[in-house]
């Protein structure tokens, strides 16, 4: 039984580590700031999530697991806010994303009229 939990836990730890590396590779490969945000969010969610699940399996039914779950909740609640703040700040600073398809017609939510900057 213990060996089964260990195998499962290592599976999650290795998968989490792999997703962290994939996220890093993505940050290096992607063109432009907005595309890099998407690569970074793989590290945020799947990387951190799988590593924490693996650690919970290692810790078992203890207080440590409860704290790990709280950390997971903290990551899930704060990382989208930080990502959104970054993207919004970039947009307001005049850094329009380079897109292949613009389906907004130049209209950004909250702007009165289309701007062509």
């Amino acid at each position: 039984m213990a060996i089964l939990v260990d195998i499962l836990s290592w599976f999650f730890l290795v998968a989490g580590g792999a997703f962290c590396i994939i996220g890093m590779v993505g940050v290096l490969r992607m063109p432009g700031m907005f595309a890099r945000l998407h690569a970074a969010s793989v590290t945020d969610t799947l990387g951190a999530g799988f590593i924490i699940i693996g650690l919970i399996l290692q810790a078992g039914f203890t207080l440590v697991s409860a704290k790990l779950i709280i950390i997971m909740g903290l990551i899930l609640l704060t990382s989208p806010v930080a990502t959104h703040a970054l993207a919004q700040a970039a947009l307001h600073a005049g850094n329009r994303p380079k897109v292949a398809h613009d389906e907004t017609g130049g209209h950004i939510a909250g702007e009165d009229e289309p701007s062509n900057s």
Binding site: I22, G26, P31, A35, H38, A66, T83, H84, V99, I108
Partner: protein, 160 residues
Amino acid sequence: MLYFASAVIITYGFWLVLSGHYTSTLMIIGAVSSVAVVALASRMAVIDREGHPIYLLGRATWYWPWLIWQIIKSGIDVSRIILSPSLPISPTLINVKASQKTVVGVVTYANSITLTPGTVSVEVEDNEITVHAITRAGATDLAAGDMDRMVTKFEGGAPS
């Protein structure tokens, strides 16, 4: 008052988990500080339906697993894009409509979009969200409105 009580209970539970010492002195100190923290917070008028949306707790039991499944699916999609040598991205900017009625609902929707790898909400205003997606397929999936309906159901509005 109910919001005050539930905020105290949750704060105290949080304190108990972080503390790990269960002697009577420390537990009383914890209880006093939880009440003090919530009292200060309610003077700032953040302990209300919007700032402490405890009524969502029951519905989170089915919304969060659904969201986590979405995160895993699109996370694997984005990983595949990153690892493929040709880097098949088609960045797309799109406006989606948020049909939620409350601020909490719109924020949940915008955060769920950002949390799902491959889509980032760039700007939120009233009931409109500008989304940057890494592929056009991701943008059209989002525009189809599955997640929008799910969040509306989560928020408690009428499913459209």
